[in-house]
Amino acid sequence: MTKTIPTGYEPMTSIEAITSGLESVGYISTQQISTAVFLALGLRKPILIEGPAGVGKTDLAASLSRWLDVPLLRLQCYEGLDEGKALYEWKYGKQLLYTQLLKEKLNEVVGDEKSLESSLAKLGSFEDLFFSEQFLESRPLLTAMRQSAGSVLLVDEIDKSDEEFEAFLLEVLSDYQVTVPEIGTIKANVPPIVILTSNNVRELGDALKRRCLHLHIGFPDHKREQRIVQARVEGISEDLLNQMVGFVQSVRDMDIKKRPSIAETVDWAKTLLLLHANALDEVFVRDTLNVLLKHESDIAAVSGDVPKLVREATSGKPAYPGQMAR
């Protein structure tokens, strides 16, 4: 297998190293996540991360890049994204400007040529000037290939792109090289760590799924969520942390439209901190419920249960015993 780890990714020697490395930059990993990252390096495969919004899919890529100290190249997908936006483009404007400026020089260049053919041939020999690196606008995919010390390439929300783009991406990711017809093939010296994320707006093609390692990040359990909030929000008291995470965990078990994710928990922790709350109480919770829940109907549904949930969260017992976080 990979006996030697490519430059740029040296710290990734074992799963434990990945877990602790990610933790050092504030990302609380799980064994599943670390294993996937480890294998991504070992098998040189992209990771496709699925899961609800706000559980740290994008953040994994950012944290990896921060930890490894390699550049993060982000490609946000949307409907209509095409190669020009993802790979490279010629700087048309600059090319145009230069040709305009060099117009006067034209006579000097072809001046001494007699026939049309020979002057055309002479011009032809300058063609490469205008299609050189100088006029190449490098987009994330190409930039990632050109990093000499490795990089993290994040293709965010791939499910929002079109199928054609998905197919094109497959081609690039299969051998980590890009061909620019006018210049030649650019091959990555050190293949980037590729992370694709999906929110399941549409079902991804089988071909893409096959070529990726699949990682599903779900809602965290109580302990992990507590650690995440602790890493993200400074100065929150142990008690309050325990109570609010307990509360959020119970809310997730309720039948609501959009279950709060880690991002919301972190926001809520910050809110409570700002309000100088020392412990969870009904009034605080009711006033700040809109940070946690994003639908009017959800807020209404949870409001009724607030006293019960708060009581259970503060007494340290789970609100709905028997129900595990799904």
Binding site: M1, Q32, K45, E79, L96, H214, H216
Partner: protein, 445 residues
Amino acid sequence: MDRQITSFIRALRASDVRVSTGEALDAARAVSVTGYADRNFLKDALRCTLAKSPDEVVTFDELFEAYFATRDIPGGKSSDTQSDPGSDAPYTDIDPVELMESGDEAAIAAALERAADAVDADDIRFSTQVAYFAQQMVKQMGGEKLQERLMQAFQERSEEGEAEAERLIEMRRDLTLRARERVQRSYDIFGKGETEQFRNDFAENKKLSAIELSDMARMKVLVARIAKRLAVKHSRRRRKKNRGQLDVRRTMRANAGVDGVPFNVVWRQKRRERPKIVVICDVSGSVARYVRFLLLLLWSMKDVVPDMHAFAFSNKLVDVDDILEDNPFEHAMDIILRVAGMGSTDYGQAWSDLKTNHESLIDRRTTIIVLGDGRSNYDDPRTDLFRDFSARAKRTIWLNPEPLAAWGTGDSEIPRYRPYCSTMNHVATLKDLERAVDDVLSAYS
């Protein structure tokens, strides 16, 4: 690639997790990185190479536990017994009595594994084969010897002989039981998925009118699966590039920065129409069963086709959108049958109700789906109204549960409606329904 992995992948495939050869190779490479020593590590590694959707992850987790719970993991501790020189001897050399007497659980388990291997217990496909395989396994493990000793004990005709026979019988029962358990496990891993698959295929092609209530649970799962399949197929993007037609305005704007020289050309895009479905169901006795499945299928696709309206009638036309919206499906069906299912069928009345109350629903992007047998009790079929609807709508699809031969017999008005339908199909099975709905949605792409 080692045998544990290939055989585990076979089990996954049997349980409807699609694993490609490429993925199998990835799994093998992953294992070569992880090794078998740490089971959790192995599980995570295999999971991210083999299971690629939430459903598959669930199946994977179950199977992994079942599969690796009992099997020897190469490189693990138990492989010592495999490399044991004694194990190379033919299995029939084992004396089952000695083995069972020794009480060495590890040895017994190893012997069971070997016997299971020898009779290819993993090839089991149906639960009815369990007994057969178990019997074969006992035979492999020297069941005949046990039998011989049993006969001997009986022939002694003494007190001790009887006691010995009793003991041996007990032993045989224990052995058979263990063998059965072992085969059952194989069946759970390898056979169950395939049997399910077989049953599902069968149910999909079974006549809807012949489906028992006990099968409803299975049918519901199937319908949900079909709905998902169709949804994936038809929830693609709604815009289509129309190459060849220049969007002058947007091209000029896009190239304002380069002095209006059109480097970036913008083509006109054609917006696809959103599907709009009006489904009209005859819920009189003969057709009601089919209505259940059609509505279940269509309502499962509400996310893809939000613009969907359902009506039920036997004579008076009833708008059933709200009933379906507010109640669990089975309950909603009962209500629908109660409010709309009474009375003798009158298609003409239904059309005129549609005309007076809901005509505005039918426009050029509407597909009208009619589910009915067209038996209108010799009343005026009001083909004039039906013709108008058909002319206004994008398409009109008639699904008829009666076979072709019965069309137009007795009070069937089918031949008079037929000219105004885009298509008129006989639907009998779930497959037919899937095809019909697929056809409706395909017209919008």
